[in-house]
Amino acid sequence: MNSFNPKNPVIQSLFGAFLIALVGVLVWQISQGLKANNIVLDWGVLGQPSQITSGSNLTTILLGMWLTIRIALVSIILALLLGIVVGVSRLSSNTVVRLVATAYVEFFRNTPLLVQIFFWYFGVFNLLPKVVQDSLDTQFGAPTVAVVAALSIYTSSYIAETIRAGIQSIPKGQFEAGDSLGLSGFQTLGLIILPQALRVVIPPLGNQFLNLTKNSSLASQLGAQELFYYGIQMQSYSGQGFVSISAITLGYLVMSLSITAILTLINNRFALAVRK
């Protein structure tokens, strides 16, 4: 075959060699730049005792990552549940339900996440009864609670739209088959429509989960001791800016790639069978 075929092994290895060369040039350029500015990269700083937490600086970074993971996991679950409820409500035959759901989506999609985080922290949280405030604060930390609320609700407004599109992509005949078997509306939705709609929307849902995880770095603005917050603290105590930012970057990269890997597994596991 003469035509260009991107799967051709020769083209693939040429492309791979080109990429490696490019990265090489980049690394060399950066190291030259660091040298020219008399900056010494000291990766050993990660092993030195932390001035922020117990253990080494690496411990600090991992502690931050652990809070980020917990914030992201809880928020992803809440955002998905809320998103399903709101997405389904967007298609309700009840006008009031539909309008409320539409208002929800438009409100939370069209205001900045950082503003929403502050809204929950300085606004809503302070309106809670004092005992509830105190118990939430001692159990989870007030900033964490506000961030989880903001991230879940903000992301759920996007997920709701994804779910709605997923439901609308299911053929009308599936609803009719459920109805004609005598299943209730909820049974048809829960047993027939959503299991299919969720399969369709796994890739766009994954994007929302990734966005949520990366957006969680905004929690640092309230002083929640998550990955970005601790990374920046480490930078100011150690003076090792490049190393600190690299550690932060690597932390987010590991979490994002894990989410992608897990979703790929789920996607493959639940892919609808096709005729062989």
Partner: protein, 250 residues
């Protein structure tokens, strides 16, 4: 041919009107179906055949007239799920649930609606799949089956609710010609077992073999009702004659 008991109506439709917006799709349909009767509905495309049988299980709501199924009147606020349990439906496009196995497609409604325990539902499901000749495919997914097999699963799925009436909306129209026979055979067996059936189909052989009556729809109403022999050999209406000429030369 099955013998229908002529004093025991299970479906009574009186002066049924249906509008889609401005469009008058059903224009005062009257029909009584006896228990055990097999009715074949024919008519040109767009004449309201699907719309009519879909009003029988209220997939479409009618705006005027009365429909009574097994003693329950279909209207706003009546117990729809109760009626739908008694009326099975088979669609042109099968509408099997693609994320469930063949057996799960059949057992879903008995388990969820009739609250049948899983082992009982599975036994019932396998028995029904046996009856439609696809028990070996029970663990496959619908997409792994041929069209004819899928439609037989759809029939088994509807039968699993042990309905009193079965509605068929052009069950063989989406099938390759070589698969039509296997589906019609299942339907014929069902007809001979005494099931009340309303079938929208243009399969003359099926109508002649098992139908008690043939009903001809045109422009939203019944134009002619006849025995299968009378309908195909000696049609009364001009429009029926034209229609029969068309399907014979298709």
């Amino acid at each position: 041919m099955t013998q229908a008991n002529s004093t025991d109506p299970i479906i009574i439709a009186q002066d049924v009107h249906k509008y889609f917006g401005q469009f008058h799709a059903l224009r005062g349909v009257n029909m009584t179906v006896q228990k055990g009767e097999v009715l074949v509905i024919v008519g040109p495309s767009g004449s309201g055949k699907s719309t009519f049988i879909r009003t029988i299980n209220r997939l479409e709501a009618h705006q005027k007239g009365t429909i009574i199924v097994d003693g329950i009147e279909l209207k706003e606020g009546s117990n729809l799920d109760a009626i739908r349990r008694e009326v099975g439906m088979v669609f042109q496009s099968f509408n099997l649930f693609p994320h469930l196995t063949v057996l799960q497609n059949v057992t879903l409604a008995p388990m969820q609606v009739r609250k049948m325990p899983k082992d009982k539902a599975n036994a019932l499901g396998m028995e029904l799949l046996e009856r439609v000749g696809i028990s070996e495919q029970a663990q496959k997914f619908p997409a792994q089956l041929s069209g004819g097999q899928q439609q037989r699963v759809a029939i088994a799925r509807a039968l699993a609710m042990q309905p009193k009436v079965m509605l068929f909306d052009e069950p063989t129209s989406a099938l390759d010609p070589e698969m039509v026979g296997e589906v019609l055979d299942v339907m014929k067996t069902l007809a001979k077992s005494g099931m009340t059936m309303l079938c929208v189909t243009h399969e003359m052989g099926f109508a002649k073999a098992v139908a008690n009556r043939v009903v001809f729809f045109d422009q939203g109403n019944i134009v002619e009702e006849n025995t299968p022999e009378g309908f195909f050999n000696n049609p009364q209406h001009e429009r029926t004659k034209m229609f029969l000429n068309q399907i014979r030369h298709a």
